[in-house]
């Protein structure tokens, strides 16, 4: 199991700025699950990302998907951890990449897409996106499902 963790200190990308969130007339608070969902969707959008989450979470997710009760779709927040402050957010992402892609390039693409989405949608400054690649997907060795995107 290979692991790549990179840090991205500070950002200079386009940002709505936190000024909109705290005003004299009251503040806007964004809850953790909101940021986690946005980060999860943003990471999955990137080509080369097959799945998200560590082994145990993915196994559990696959079991839950087959259960007749509850929501059958996998959670978009699987493999995402966030720490959200008043003006800043930090994100940890666990990825499974497709075999054959440049993992460094995919990780960088995930990082910039996550930052762009969170800063654009939440107005929070993203201080870091830590990406951990926990596995590589080798193709349809155990199931008939096609590759990610």
């Amino acid at each position: 199991m290979s692991q790549i963790t990179e840090q991205r200190p500070g950002t200079d990308g386009p940002s709505a700025g936190p000024g909109h969130l705290i005003t004299p007339q009251g503040r806007t608070t964004i809850a953790d699950p909101v940021v986690a969902k946005i980060a999860g969707i943003a990471a999955r959008e990137v080509s080369g990302v097959h799945d998200m989450g560590k082994g145990a979470a993915r196994a559990l997710g696959a079991v839950k998907e087959r259960l007749p009760v509850g929501s059958s779709s996998p959670s978009v927040t699987q493999g995402v951890n966030v720490q959200v402050g008043e003006e800043e957010a930090a994100v940890d992402v666990d990825l499974v990449c497709e075999y054959g892609v440049s993992i460094v390039d995919v990780a960088e693409a995930v990082r910039s897409n996550v930052i762009r989405r969170i800063e654009g949608m939440c107005g929070l400054r993203v201080t870091e996106v830590n990406i951990s690649v926990g596995d590589v997907w080798m193709g349809d060795d155990d199931s008939g499902s096609g590759p990610g995107q």
Partner: protein, 96 residues
């Protein structure tokens, strides 16, 4: 400070296109407790009114905050309006 009509607050917030619904918070405890019923997602304190919402898909959240605050301020009787985005609706294309 003036009384706040929580039903009116809930109605104007619910009517905003950027807002999917009012949110009761993680445990459904955020509400105004009235005789016989409760108004979900609105809480009035001495100095502020708290509004908890679920944002619609693709809604820029600072805009959600400003819009909700702008709609509620006239009803808040001089209080500040704190907007909490508790959850966000996931666009259908993204699954779950």
């Amino acid at each position: 400070m003036a009384e706040v009509d929580v039903d009116a607050v809930a109605a104007v917030v619910q009517a905003l296109p950027l807002v999917s619904s009012l949110s009761g918070g993680q445990f459904g405890e955020v509400a105004t407790y009235l005789p016989g019923r409760r108004v979900r997602g609105v809480r009035v304190r001495d100095g502020n009114v708290e509004v908890h919402v679920v944002a619609g898909p693709e809604a820029p959240l600072p805009v959600v905050g400003t819009t909700v605050r702008g709609a509620v301020l006239p009803l808040a009787g001089g209080r500040a309006v704190d907007v909490h985005v508790d959850d966000i609706e996931v666009p259908l294309s993204a699954g779950g």
